[in-house]
């Protein structure tokens, strides 16, 4: 048998990125998961049940909303894909409902998750409670502090939140801890990974569950304007909301796909989360992708004012879309994101997540280079209630009154 030509391996790469860089002990559950994707996920029964859950429980389709005030000011049509209106307040729930349903069909009683901003943890806890599964969430100790309300939400939903004290005490360490736990408890547990990162088949699984965003954008855009959008813009940490928004447009070359990373404070040599713009190829958490790292291959701490973007790597499919030039990846800094956050609050009455504020900030910063009359879709991946503590601190630090 030519091990270099197994279907598993061929399917596991996006161009030169991706793969299955995990301990041998994790190969059996990954193979089992891939098999479940091939058999259970494509079945009519699973697809019908998921479609109903997305409609009646999650609240899909989420609206594609034209911002009247900002559109007038900018001179082009600014649409928001309102993932913030999903149950639990973010796009994350599309993925967790799918993976939780798959877990139920696979006959495993426990859902395991890692979380940074807490949105994926809340979405996993929600799906687990709804489907009668136990839920365990690893979260960096730093994130536990800065996302206290989400921790409480997870606990109210019956999940056990485990603070991770090792390393930088953020998302990457929570991911390490979750992978370690999964190695030991794989027989009863499904690891509900929260982004399009990790070993094959996770980047494909999560993308397929988030692709509903782009499919809806396409249908809604055609219905509302009669044409495809000119730009689809999304923030990129691991990249699940972005790949979800982009995926259905990859073949539509007239549509510009823009991923927006977090540049941190924006100062030279500051910690950031811009792994495509500032990273180099390397292996972390099961995949070869673009990473923030030292020349010796040690993973660097990341930073963003938006906890959900605070990760030193990116999904391998994004690294490939960057490589191939199909999508453009750029970055905005914390300050620009906060500015965009304020603008959307004041101009449209919508409080966006700080993650999504990065995508919006790119549009605002580049208003002069976007042709008048363009149709620009920003994927508003989540709502900002969870970030009020962070915003409050920033306002206090500036000496302004909230």
């Amino acid at each position: 048998m030519d091990i270099q030509k197994t279907a598993f391996e061929k399917a596991s790469y996006f161009g030169r990125f991706g793969g299955t860089f995990v301990p041998e002990l994790l190969i059996p559950p990954l193979t089992e998961l891939e098999e479940a994707m091939r058999t259970i996920m494509v079945s009519k029964e699973f697809q019908s049940e998921l479609a109903l859950l997305l409609r009646d429980y999650v609240g899909r389709p989420s609206p594609l909303y034209r911002c009247p005030n900002l559109s007038q000011e900018l001179g082009f049509d600014l649409f928001l894909k309102r993932e913030d209106l999903n149950h639990t307040g973010a796009h994350k729930v599309n993925n967790t409902m799918g993976q939780a349903l798959l877990t139920k069909y696979m006959g495993k009683p426990v859902l395991l998750a890692e979380t940074g901003a807490g949105q994926h943890g809340v979405a996993t806890a929600t799906a687990a409670a709804m489907m009668g599964l136990q839920c365990l969430v690893f979260m960096g100790a730093t994130d536990v502090k800065r996302q206290a309300h989400n921790v409480m939400r997870m606990e109210l939903l019956g999940a056990k939140v485990i603070p991770v004290q090792s390393g930088t005490q953020t998302l990457k360490d929570a991911t390490n801890a979750a992978l370690r736990y999964w190695i030991a408890e794989q027989e009863t547990t499904h690891y509900c990974l929260g982004s399009v990162v990790g070993p094959h088949p996770f980047p494909t699984l999560v993308r397929d569950l988030q692709a509903v965003i782009g499919k809806e954008i396409k249908a809604q855009s055609l219905e509302q304007t009669g044409v495809l959008p000119d730009y689809v813009v999304a923030c990129v940490g691991g990249g699940s909301n972005a790949i979800g928004a982009f995926y259905d447009f990859i073949e539509d070359e007239s549509v510009k796909l823009v991923g927006v990373e977090a540049a941190g404070t924006g100062e030279p040599d500051c910690y950031n989360s811009a792994s495509i713009n500032k990273g180099t190829p390397g292996v972390l958490h099961g995949a070869l992708t673009l990473l923030l790292q030292t020349k010796d291959g040690q993973i660097l701490p990341s930073h963003s004012v938006a906890p959900g973007l605070d990760y030193p790597g990116v999904g391998p499919e994004h690294a490939h879309l960057h490589d191939s030039g199909r999508a453009t990846y750029t970055s905005v800094n914390d300050e620009q994101a906060i500015e965009a956050f304020n603008t959307l609050c004041l101009k449209e009455g919508i409080i966006p997540a700080l993650e999504s504020s990065h995508a919006l900030a790119w549009v605002l910063e580049n208003r002069d280079s976007i042709p008048a009359g363009s149709r620009v879709v920003v994927n508003l991946s989540g709502r900002g209630d969870k970030d009020l503590g962070i915003v409050e601190e920033i306002i206090a630090a500036r000496g302004e009154v909230a």
Partner: protein
């Protein structure tokens, strides 16, 4: 196929009526100077093969003991380049064979071809990379094969026989059976499944079998008799050194 240096070394220990001893210590632990003293003690204390850990910031297969030791080494400036340079300097004074154990990214950044050539010059006999399973190993194995360094197969209690056969077709040196479905770290007891998996591996592989993960005392091996040829211990050794003891005193009970 001719036996590799690692195979020969383990067989020599077995011919002498004992299991080969493979202690593990992260490169540069407990500090850069004492590390080579401890390696020398391990060597004099009866180690047949010494496994040197290449520290990595995100070691997913390791428990807290190895992780903390590795992070301390990174803090002190240890990197793969340091290990290879220092090994080149000390290699002639060490009788045991040397295996490097580390995660893929530092090797990838070093450059696989460059690493293979430099490691061969430094006298490295084998490499263990926990996050490189069969699917991802071919390119690295080709570079290592070219310079005569073994890429050690890691198999688990959950590795099916068919997959072990695929490993057997390409592996050399020895086979490392991970004794627990979990991460590194000393444990009081080993799972019942270990014996059966060792017996199965013995049928599939024409290579020595080493048992590692979770092992802290020679008594734990009594149950396995001739089912294994070598034993790897790391966390228990690190804890021993961290407690102010020497590598030499740790080795005494294993001889």
């Amino acid at each position: 196929m001719a036996q590799s240096r690692l195979q020969q070394r383990i067989k020599a220990a077995n011919d002498a009526g004992r299991k080969a001893l493979i202690p593990f210590l992260p490169g540069g632990y407990p500090d850069q100077e004492r590390f080579w003293e401890e390696i020398t003690e391990l060597d004099k204390g009866g180690a047949d093969v010494i496994e040197i850990g290449v520290p990595f910031s995100d070691p997913v297969a390791d428990g807290p003991v190895v992780e903390q030791a590795s992070l301390a080494c990174i803090e002190s400036g240890v990197c793969l380049e340091w290990i290879i340079q220092e090994l080149t300097r000390h290699r002639d004074a060490i009788g045991a064979e040397i295996v490097l154990m580390g995660y893929m990214n530092p090797f990838y950044q070093y450059g696989l071809k460059r690493f293979a050539q430099d490691a061969a010059r430094a006298g490295v006999a084998g490499i263990i990379i926990p996050d490189v399973p069969l699917e991802e190993a071919a390119a690295f194995r080709a570079e290592l094969d070219a310079v005569g360094i073994d890429l050690i197969a890691l198999i688990g209690l959950n590795t099916p026989r068919e997959r072990m056969e695929q490993y057997a077709a390409v592996s050399s040196g020895f086979v490392y059976l991970v004794s627990v479905l979990g991460i590194t770290g000393a444990r009081d007891t080993l799972p019942d499944k270990v014996r059966g998996k060792l017996a199965e591996a013995r049928e599939v592989f024409d290579l020595p079998l080493a048992l590692g993960f979770g092992i802290k005392s020679p008594e734990q091996l009594d149950a396995f008799g001739d089912h294994l040829d070598a034993v790897v211990f790391g966390s228990a050794l690190i804890q021993h050194i961290r407690g102010g003891e020497s590598a030499a005193s740790f080795m005494e009970r294993w001889r």
